[in-house]
């Protein structure tokens, strides 16, 4: 069991998290935050292995990971 939480107001939609997720479960949503960026999300959290690859690559330290 693993969980990632995106601090959405800080996300800039750069998609670096999307590019490094080994399970390919991170994507950019159609939801934009107050800054106007489409924020990253995980649609099916049951597939997450909690490796924290997304969090280590995020330039804005948007992501918290639990396992």
């Amino acid at each position: 069991m693993a969980n990632v939480v995106f601090n959405e107001p800080l996300c800039k939609g750069c998609a670096l998290c999307v590019s490094v997720c080994p399970k390919k479960i991170v994507s950019l949503s159609k939801r934009s935050n107050e800054k106007g960026y489409f924020v990253a999300e995980v649609k099916d959290m049951s597939l997450c292995i909690g490796c924290a690859a997304c969090a280590l690559m995020c330039p804005d330290v948007v992501i918290e990971v639990s396992r």
Binding site: G13, L56, P59, V61
Partner: protein, 244 residues
């Protein structure tokens, strides 16, 4: 469930102002985590540059002095000499460190100042709108090398690590990258090692981090990472250039 990743206590809650995908943020994170692992924010003093990282004092949860353009190594030298028990680091871009601040950089290394420099090489002046830096690659376009840099017109790129490694005062000199997960993990280890060298009193340490500037390179963040991996590492090979 336990937290396996959360923000370092050495970073404040102020959101970074950097452009989307800019690796300044990753460099801030690994620097903060390495400092945190050394223990305690009361023992750390940073020096911020002129460049996109000029607001670093808003982001690191420790004392920070902002220096005039390129003068961070001189300011850091002074701080360290007055406060030898503090961990003192400068965080500088390539315009700041290798252009206007080249003299300060070289002489701080030659004197063997017991400070650590985190050197962000993104091969361009980010803050001022993408002018050529001393580190700009041959063929790379910038607003002041619009047809691509040529050796004949603009001169050759400077390899800071290789150059500083020749100086007796340098104790740990390494070049790392952030273009993928493995390199990010290795980069943090190198930054931690540089701070360990300072704590051990070994003298000048510098970690050059190959970085991106998606905005002024005119590339997506992901393509910028590819550019670092495929082009920058050819001109700036990764590795440890000095380790005493």
């Amino acid at each position: 469930m336990q937290k396996v990743f959360q923000k370092s206590a050495l970073l404040t809650d102020t959101p970074f102002h950097y452009c989307p995908g800019c690796t300044h943020g990753i460099s801030h994170r690994i620097t903060a985590e390495a400092l945190e692992e050394l223990g305690g924010k009361q023992g750390i003093i940073g020096v911020a540059p002129v460049g996109c990282a000029v607001f670093a004092y808003n982001y690191f949860n420790c004392d920070i002095q902002q220096a005039a353009h390129g003068r961070a190594p001189a300011v850091a030298s002074g701080i360290k000499r007055v406060c030898p028990d503090k961990i003192v680091f400068a965080y500088q871009g390539d315009g700041d460190l290798a252009s206007i601040g080249m003299a300060e950089t070289v002489h701080a290394a030659a004197r063997g100042e017991n400070i650590t420099i985190i050197f962000i090489n993104n091969a361009i002046y980010g803050m001022t709108g993408g002018q050529m830096a001393p580190t700009t690659l041959i063929g790379q376009k910038s607003t002041t090398s619009q047809g691509g840099r040529t050796a004949a017109l603009q001169g050759n790129p400077i390899r800071i690590c290789e150059m500083l490694a020749t100086l007796d005062g340098a104790s740990y000199i390494a070049r790392v990258s952030l273009h993928d997960l493995k390199s990010v993990v290795a980069a943090k280890k190198a930054v931690k090692k540089a701070f360990d060298y300072q704590v051990a009193g070994k003298g000048f340490s510098l970690v050059e981090i190959l970085s991106t500037c998606p905005t002024n390179w005119g590339m997506t963040p992901e393509n910028s990472m590819e550019y670092v991996k495929n082009e920058m590492t050819k001109v700036y090979p990764l590795g440890v250039f000095k380790e005493v």
